[in-house]
Amino acid sequence: MSDNLQPVPAVLASIRPMVEDNYVFTFVPDRPFSVIPGQFFEISLPGVGNFPVSTCLPVVNGRIESCIRRAGRVTDALYRLSPGAQVGLRGAFGNGFDLKLFAGQDILLVAGGLGMAPLRGLLMTLLAERQRYGRIVLLYGSREPRLLLFGEELVELARQQSITLRFSVDFAADLQGPFGGVICRIGLVNELLEDLQLEPPQTVAAVCGPPALYGCILEQLAATGIAEEKILVTLERRMRCGIGECCHCVAGGRYVCRDGPVFSLAELRSMPGAI
């Protein structure tokens, strides 16, 4: 399909502050977009620039919801907009998670920091057909308790026994905050892997987090016995064009924007430098 890099006009419908500099934005494009979890969009602010972002909720009634960190010049400009503002959307790009792999399996989601955003999109997609899956375990690590994204919602899902939830935080002076009761660890998220009582042969793992997370946890997951084809990782790169041309996102010889951003550990092992 030919791409002329032109966005579809969209309205910024709502802005929901979640934690400092991590707000949830809802966009309604002029024409509907089909998206699967793990895919991403390019959001254009004409006159400022564009940036890639995933969705944090399945697209319902054409509304696209993204949790966006204020991390650079263009996202900073987005934070200054008010609902009703015009933006542009291109996409969806990338492969997304192959949901067929998840059917009938136990599911282990491992999120670090803002990595919770795309995994929440995946989680909500899975929960829409909860009966198709076995146990769903979410391990979520954040720097501090106050930076946990979607914390209350996740706690509620755990309370309803839809998911098993474990939080970890790198630093915490005390655990009296709203999530004090559910934070299992002060430490790194990979330490939550112990005592999970998963059945590795029938488990699919999906991991999303900062580069430092991937250095240790992927091989740890493999060591538990989960097949390398069923350890799925979404890579963050500087995706400028989204169509496998501009070369900024290339890792291990592959265009993350087009061949990914979701890769299995089996693929990553043959992509030197990707993790």
């Binding site: 791409d3 890099l5 032109q6 966005p7 004409p46 650079g72 496998g244 070369c247 890792a251």
Partner: protein, 321 residues
């Protein structure tokens, strides 16, 4: 060397003049020409077809994939298409450039802007005398374009070129091989993904990378380099133009993400990335060496970095160098 074969015809008296007039038509005709300052540049020519090729320092890609190209404009809430590019002809290109054209055609196969310019482009190659830096290889990849002009023969590379020659009453003959230059002066060295993996942490990346000035000249002059960035420019009437700009894998931030993490933070990593891109390719073109051996990067590099020389060390050493 033996290259691909194409239908050919003999150059009769007056054919090149008629052909030149037909090609010019409503097109702006560009050819590599030596300027008074000694630099070979693509320039607009008024008449004629060069009977020999030259290597323009800044290659033909600048006409298909301009260093700054408007890809859309935005005004009063509307995204608008850009104007159609002018019809042009490129003549007098060396055969290595016709390979590079083929490669870019693959890279931008689904790019509307490239394809729009490409559909309005007529390309004629010519024979060349290989220079001391040349390492071309007929077997590297196919060629693209319309015509190749030889000493006494013409080769028609495209359907429209065959039709054009027929209208000029040329007698088409059986296919024959393109006349690649005899024996490149230097031997080129190929590398494999396994070579790159084995030498991923070799000292040579740091040794050569430390010299690199990150000037980006090698990528700018490379006929198969195509990294780009997107950037917005506002006009006084309030409209905005989204531009596509040449980017460069030696520049800082090429591999960085929002928040500051850089996946290719040092020049050693960037040099290795460039080697990987040139010699192994990315995405669907993985496994294809895209260095057409024109020698432009070697000639332009102010600190004498030569990917082929680095590749040669891998092949001869066998262990980390």
């Amino acid at each position: 060397m033996v290259g691909l074969s194409f239908p050919c015809c003999t150059i009769q008296d007056g054919l090149l003049e008629k052909l030149a007039a037909e090609i010019a038509g409503d097109r702006l005709v560009w050819a590599p020409r030596q300027s008074e300052d000694g630099v070979c540049r693509l320039q607009v020519i008024n008449s004629g077809l060069p009977d020999h090729a030259a290597v323009a320092r800044l290659p033909f890609k600048k006409l298909l994939f301009p260093h700054r190209e408007k890809v859309w404009s935005y005004h009063n809430g509307q995204y608008n298409d850009v104007d159609m590019p002018q019809r042009i002809a490129l003549v007098g290109l060396p055969l290595c450039d016709l390979q590079a054209l083929w490669y870019l055609d693959q890279v931008f196969a689904e790019d509307a802007h490239y394809q729009e310019r490409r559909s309005r482009l007529f390309v004629a190659g010519a024979l060349c005398e290989p220079g001391p830096e040349c390492r071309c290889d007929a077997a590297l990849m196919p060629v693209a374009g319309d015509l190749v002009i030889g000493h006494d023969q013409l080769w028609a590379l495209s359907e429209r070129a065959v039709e054009l020659l027929m209208t000029l009453a040329c007698q088409m003959q059986d296919e024959s091989s393109l006349p690649w230059p005899e024996g490149p002066v230097e031997i080129r060295h190929t590398i494999t993904a396994e070579d790159l993996r084995a030498h991923r942490h070799a000292g040579i990346w740091t040794a050569e990378g430390d010299r690199c000035l990150s000037c980006g000249a090698c990528s700018a002059v490379c006929p198969t380099c195509y990294c780009f960035d997107l950037s917005d420019a506002a006009e006084v009437n309030g409209s905005v133009n989204r531009q596509r700009l040449w980017d460069n894998c030696f520049f800082t931030e090429h591999g960085s993400v929002a928040g500051g993490f850089d996946f290719r933070a040092g020049r050693a990593e960037r040099l290795r990335f460039r080697m990987e891109h040139k010699r192994l390719g990315f995405g669907e073109l993985r496994g294809m060496d895209s260095c057409v051996g024109c020698g432009r990067c070697r000639n332009i590099c102010p600190v004498d970095i030569d990917l082929d020389r680095i590749a040669a060390q891998f092949v001869t050493e066998g262990t980390d160098v």
